[in-house]
Symmetry: D4
């Protein structure tokens, strides 16, 4: 159902023309779909279906599992991303796939053998409320870049000193898509959302203390934004924001 239509049509027409027995047709169709590593099933047609291959979410996997998945994906894909990767994971991957690089702040491992072309006119601008939000912003930035987007970062323009934000207004309004990364009360998303006519992807962070309850305050703040045009991803989910911004940024 979700397979590449051409390949399937080819197979079932072979079957119809009796060039292929029933069982073989079934097996071929299945093999198009994913590689089974036992502990993981790699979604082989995700690049075709969604424009970028499956991304490896490393948390909760052993370094060995991460490395094996990266290796298997690298066989069919020029560019692969692994998120939430600590140093150990990076080293395990590096041992199997030498040409990866590591973004320590973003905790992301990147394989980028054929960089995708970027449209210099359509920029994704990532705005953070504070310095402490930068790691999440970096995850978003690396994600958007490898998916073929020009990215621009504006850090530490939270609403406590709102002139810092207004001084960047030209930059912010020049963006094609915006990602706003903020902890504490997350008010920056509402303020930015009110200033632009472009989509705003809001990322609440777990930055703050006391009654931020692990990012809940920023999450609720952003969901209840009085500015329309703002949508929210999970707490600290820089990857999700970068991915969605990339999809939107490629729209024509």
């Amino acid at each position: 159902m979700t397979l590449q239509d051409d390949k399937i049509l080819e197979i079932i027409n072979k079957f119809k023309n009796q060039e292929l027995p029933e069982e073989a047709a079934l097996a071929q169709i299945k093999s198009l779909q994913y590689t089974d590593l036992g502990f993981a099933k790699l979604d082989n047609n995700r690049a075709e279906r969604q424009g970028f291959p499956e991304v490896i979410y490393c948390a909760g996997k052993t370094p060995e599992q991460c490395a094996e998945i990266m290796y298997a994906l690298s066989l069919n894909n020029a560019n692969v991303l692994a998120t939430r990767a600590d140093k150990n994971v990076y080293e395990a991957i590096k041992a199997k796939v030498q040409d990866v690089r590591y973004h320590e702040e973003a905790r992301v491992v990147v394989l980028e053998r054929k960089p995708l072309p970027k449209d210099e006119e359509r920029v994704i601008t990532i705005v953070t409320a504070g310095t402490s939000d930068i790691p999440v912003a970096a995850e978003a930035a690396v994600t958007a870049e490898i998916m073929g987007n020009k990215v621009n970062c504006v850090y530490d323009v939270g609403v406590a000193g709102i002139h810092r934000l207004f001084a960047q207004l030209e930059v912010i309004r020049a963006a094609n898509v915006l990602i706003v990364v903020a902890g504490m009360e997350g008010a920056l998303a509402s303020v930015v959302g009110g200033l632009v006519n472009k989509p705003v992807v809001a990322v609440p962070t777990s930055v703050g203390y006391g009654a931020n309850f692990g990012g809940l305050s920023a999450l609720l703040g952003m969901l209840n934004s009085c500015s329309a045009g703002v949508a929210v991803v999970n707490i600290d989910n820089g990857f999700g924001a970068g991915r969605l911004a990339s999809i939107i940024n490629h729209m024509r």
Copy 2:
């Protein structure tokens, strides 16, 4: 312990000088403190202790109880406030104490026989994010006014159209104390807090829908404000904000 010092000293010195027997001294001291209506104990020295007589919180009381309390307080106090009063409560009070007036929007009954003098130079400015926050702001305004403050209201300057706020900047900066009333994400408190060097009393409201969870989103947003100088009162608690702002505004 919490009695007016002079009266007590007078009593205990009479006791020391044997002008007053032990039991009588005890009784007199106690009678200074409160009037006992059975279902309520009216705090008679609150005006002296805190600058304004006990305020009647009508929710959960019968109209008759509210009226009896108002009547009893009116015997010793020129100015009395009753909050969370619906029409029935107002009418029950009115029947016993004719010279009260009713603020319907604020749901407040006011007895104001000797208006307190107001300092025209020191204004409390109440700012709301939206039109729907006005009833809570009105409760704060009525409270602050009867307690002897000049009050100024700026409605509907939420951050979705932030130029409306900046157009009021002069007014906002002229305030001596600010009350910010906002629902949804409550971001207005942070933005205002970053623009002034005066205390900001933030009142989260239950305005909004969905994941505002009865005002929780605004409450958490305000508690986690990245602007220092902001403190928060209970959800929809216009009275508490007006009371605190009045205390601060009278400081010299």
Copy 3:
């Protein structure tokens, strides 16, 4: 700062050329920004700034306030939207602005004097999990339509009978932007998100009972979606979804 650049440049250049005194320049700049009704400040340049005039959120406002705001906005704007409007609100508006129409299911009042042109090729597809989610979907549909979008609705394709969804796969994949409206566990957002390479705006609804806690289950489900490319708006916030989808759908 957030004003239309041209008009401001004109004003300040007049000031520079001494065709306009200082005070007049200030006043003119301010008047560009909003109309002050006392209880509301209408954001006059929102259409210019964000592509559509300020939308009236009727909850918590009196019918009279809603009607006055609609009337004031109608003076400067051909198309205006009022959401969360019950019958009383509609009738109050209708009395002042005769050519509005009412979408009862969506609880929306629409003034549409000059329909915006629609791109027939770029469709926003709204998908609901169940029949009970239709009112929220309708709010999103009316919103997106008046903002100049072709909208397509696919109702009742929740995952309990997933073949209903797959039978619509062609329709779903033909969408330029998707809005997924679902209550209960909200799983439909993840499933749709995994099938398309277009942005998915997820709207959790308060449909369900027991431990859905007013839409919290669907909200958390959608925020934690394992499919990238999904972002979330507030519970039951059809308007927000329609507005964001419209912004994205107009991107070129």
Copy 4:
């Protein structure tokens, strides 16, 4: 009351026939029930009452306590299970009961002296959404196996790439009972529940980040499943799912 009926009848009839004095009858009846280790009371007739001896939940117990309990249970039971056992616990047990084995991934210690017979026709199939859910699935698998069930595992078929799930449809439909293990939004339980006519035991996991709140998102998602035929056990509770699935799988 909950004792084995035969033994009790024997005892009380001896008492009736005066073959046994009153006190002895009482003591014998009590001794049938449990072994008292002081810090623990081992439920000696659970195997008879519920088909499998008491399982040792090691969390919060010292390694020595775990070992003593395992030893005491091993005297009366051929097969015993200890869950939530880390390496230290395993080693302490191993020192007292040599023939145990350790499932590191599942954190389970197993004593299996007389494997129970398994019905090859009635398979319990355990399905996980991701690789990170495997440890919880493993706990369920070990539990169900030692209780005499054939178990089949299908890993990493989450809904983000739903064709992976459909490719396993034959396997899934061949199951007699299903256990679905998923974190994040837990949508897999609803999708599987809609595809089969067998009972689905859903296990939410704490896998995920941000607003998953330790598994709450998956838990609520599964409880609110729009598919009937799904019931839920505690977060990360692989053992509970395996135990329940085994009970159901043995029904005739």
Copy 5:
């Protein structure tokens, strides 16, 4: 994919044998799946796929929508169930499908033209903690009965007077599947779970006051049950419990 295999095989073989053109094959396959009423898509092969036709969840639907769905389902199915139906819904249905009957306490409308055979030996026993839990139990009972099960009810045996429960022990142990319905702390599920070796489906109810938080206390209590063999459905979800119990009860 989820269609009845035989019919599909017949169609695709016709297609292969050129008895059917490509488009017709596609249309026939789709028509097998569901009836589209616009506001609802009726899952036509659910009876085949899951043993009972789609159940109508009436909450959030208009009485007219409920009636239309019932009528459409009645064309293809002898037995249909509609839950959460108030009097208005019942009357609207009755006007279109005369031979339905109404269970007022359970708020269920039943169409039962061909009662399913019941196995007298395998009883589903429904146990409630209190009298106030009976409506939820009744929903479970009606559901299980129409699905072809013998049902036995034991009401008001909560743990505060645990001898009432033990007096029913024989009845309880005679059950093939148990449904435990309890509010407040939900302890009955744990106690029953410890006494039987049959599956226990636990239904938390919203009965209670204060800190039961709408059924949360019973829900958490049942999820954390120290007795294995217990699984939980949504708060007040008698239907879900009855459905699952029926599935289990038909296992051989």
Copy 6:
């Protein structure tokens, strides 16, 4: 097991002495325990086991069910209590058992044919923070009185005017057991707990607004009391507090 020991010993000795056949013995033992009304099982030996007959919790029961239960209990008990009874319930009961009386404020129906003797020296003192807490206090008072306790009430001594509390110190310290009833922040429990050396039963109430979240603030406040000697019952649970205080007050 939970039966009156004497009656059981009599029965089983008759059985032993062959004055009673096995089945009759079983039946007699069971009949001692409860009366089965179908929808309710009345716990006949609760008075013997716990000192007072089963109390009828009317919420969630029909007026008819309440009346039938009261009637059945009145056959074996002189004094019976029904809580959470609205006017309709009272009237239904009154129609069946004429000599009941109704405490409207406490929403309690009382049958008191043989008042229990009270110890005048050992008083239960009920203290409320405000006037709005009185209905909960009244439920506690009626409960304790019918169970044979002298009760003393001190209303409206919350900590905002703490001298009102200290003026009652003698009364408070004269209590044998204290019940503290408070909403909002519930601080009164801690203050009273620090002043006495008697047990304090704390009842949080749902009085308050905004972030009291239905009594959660008072509940958490009381559970976290820095004063030892305080224990907490459910929100608004005056009955539970009265019952526990009575048990403690009868200790010798």
Copy 7:
């Protein structure tokens, strides 16, 4: 106000008789009340007021602070308790007050120079649901013992194997006061509460996993207990339970 009446009367009469100047009277009264260590104010008349000296809660204090407080208290009190004390705290205390002893499982340091007499007839019985609850029970036990109570412990009688509980029924019913310590669903409190006519102090523990949410499940379970006569203290608060049980147990 809370001072020992005799000493105060003595002082103020000296003052009256001019044997003491005003300032000295004030100073003497104050010195009766507490010792000021700067970082702590030791409540010197708590033993007199509440029957046992102030207890040291060590969490959040440095070992040095704990030691200084213990030393200062030991000057005026024969018996002192310090809870939540880890090894470091114990050693710091031991260095200053040699004759303390350490209960490692309970994490309690005890100074007991003059053991209080115990009433052998009135036993406090502490019941735990599982082995993992023992540390909390031990804290309760040590607390109650040093306060002059005979304590009896019954461990691991949770409701999953309820016959273990019934086998202890005689012991449980012999108690004068009961403390029930349980995690997970906390059902043991309800079951025990239904079996006795003595007060039950329930202590929820954080034992369990998944959706126990740090003890919330047991806490809510116990607060919502369907058995009257149960009151609840804070999660894991063995000390509070022991203290309250001791107060009750000394009632005559």
Copy 8:
């Protein structure tokens, strides 16, 4: 808009007089506002706007980032504060700005080259409920002192031994502004609030255990205070309380 008015007027008048080209005017205006370090934008006119330079919140920043920010701020400001600074942060700062000092208990780094003058008559009094609350109080004290306030601390006067509080009544009533720092149930804020007619800034702390849920109990307690005149800052936010108290204390 938020710039120092004089400097801006100077610049724009130069521009008007053609002493400055357009671009230069823009650049000069912007440079007044903040220093851009890339990862941080230092708010250069905050001292002018709010009376004290930007405070460094060190949590979530690397030690190097903290040091660079301190260095940059020290160029333009005599006094700078860095909060939530652990030892590593302090040492990194010390290496770049030698004349800082470290308050270990408060975890604050202070640069104080020109101490601000203090008004000896207007004291900020900080009151804690317990010894464990002292670190939060210390953060508030250091903050208020460097901002030019006389600070007085009263530790360990929680309501469990309320005479300790009353013994300090004179000190407390002498305060111009009060900060109340309390964990557990936070009752101290209500009691103090009822005794004074000065503003009370309440700081809930995370001190406590069990159902304090990281400070939630104290937070809710303080927000629901029955005493007016109390406002609340975030949990453990000593800095915010000190800052707000300083603003209020400087009012004339």
